[in-house]
Amino acid sequence: MSTVATTVQLSETRIARRETRQQLLRSKTFMAGAIIIAFWVLCAVFGHRIAPHDPLAQSFPQLEGLSRTYPFGTDQLGRDVFSRVLAGARDILIVAPLATLLGIVGGTIIGLVTGYFRGLTDDVVSRIVDAVLSLPLIVIAVTVLVALGHSTLTVIVVIGLVFAPIVSRTVRAAVLAERQLDYVSASRLQGERAPYVMFVEILPNVMGPIVVEATVRLGYAIFAVAGLTFLGFGVQPPSPDWALQIADNYTLLGAGTYWWTVLFPALAIISLVVAVNLVADGLARVFGR
């Protein structure tokens, strides 16, 4: 009896999953975003190899305009902007997703615990969350990065730690709705321990909002990493990172119109963040939020 029930349930989950997949494939915004992200991921992996010139080489004429040899011109150190744009996806596509992952895992745990236990735990954690959220991310990040010294790892940890409380609010709200439901009481009456109920029973049912939150957070993580890098606290030279290219060259804008040195990396960042948000929008629609 119970095995029959399990098989029926399993195939139902499978059907539900297939439906979700089909809905996503049919969503134009989702697909457009996914294709752009896939393109930049490929560039992040193979960019150094497919680039026509070495992205780090300073051996070309300086500040050359667009030409056949240098489709996007060269920067003030004589580096090929086109090659650097192709290779520049790597660092941000490592740092931002890792920071997001940390924030999502941390936030999910906090959200599950506070939403499930309520009471004093909830109150204390919520107060701390409020205090953290009363300062802008970039200000917290700059302060901590100065204090601890800036390495890629610190950037990931700081952004992840600031995201965790924000994520925890979304998760907590979803958990509060779930814990009223019969299956939670049933599982508790069966004598299951709290961690089991939280992670095995409730967690799978709040995955929808968590997935949507994760993509939204990824967008913010890219935003934050790019901003920190621009300020000099994120990705460090000589990486061909896009924000770093802009930080290196934006001062030239006032002097002469060497617009190509900043416009192309800027467009690259824009395409990436917009793509992430299109995916987030598509996911949110499918998961019905």
Partner: protein
Amino acid sequence: MLSVLVFAASQLLPGNIGRNVLGPFASTNDVNALNHQLGVDRPILVQYVDWIGKLVHGNLGMSLEYKVPVVSLLGPSLINSLKLAAVAFVLVVPLSIVGGVFAALRRGRLPDRVITLSGLSLTAVPEFISALVLILIFGLLLNWLPVTAAAPADADLVTQIRYLLLPSLALVMVLFGYIARMARAGTIEALDADYTRTAYLKGLDTTTVIRRHVLRNSLLPTIAVIATQMGYLIGGLVVIEKLFNYNGIGQRIYTAALNKDFTMLQSGVLVVGIVYLSATLIADILYSLLNPRIRYAGVE
């Protein structure tokens, strides 16, 4: 709570403050003397109480880098930042509310999709990128607006605003999406509500229904979200002020961070926190003034 957090964060600063200020060649005696003079050789709790005590008297200490009171540097910077924020605010609030309400009234049709998607995309783009694109278009291509934020010293108000237009537009682009989305959601909810149907059924014309019944209800959540965006606005200032080389609070925090000027950093971050909390408070008060349900609940 905020003050504890700020203080704790600045205590994380590595190593010896005296050593940081005097450099690697100073003698150990001098370093110790300076540490003693600054009082940083005392227990942390004593330092905290001391700092808080001075704080409530408006004394934020001396800047380690510039050797002048922090207040004398932070004050003018804060005013500069508030000017920039004010211009951004004046532009973004009406613009995004009109955009959001307009999108809601054309729900599901082309104008709605255009406003929602472009708002979403603009919000996602880091502010220094939108600022750069604005500089390229309006500053260099069209040559309409100055590309630096600080106006000449004796400039009149109009010129000052002209100089602040580009940086504030960059902030507007980021904030527009959020606020417009809230205004849209609020308006849609109000449009679907029973009281709106009642208003239509009792024969009021569309303009009156929207002005008297829809907008009054839909803009409440929007006010709340505007206040929460103040926090972002100040964070955005750090990046924007650096890009435009504008002497505001964000620029102060940034240089203090670079120079390890910890009194300045501490005070700057605290000021930001206070500004944010006051914004939230003002929003709460405004919210209750505009919402009779809360206003009367307090009286009963």
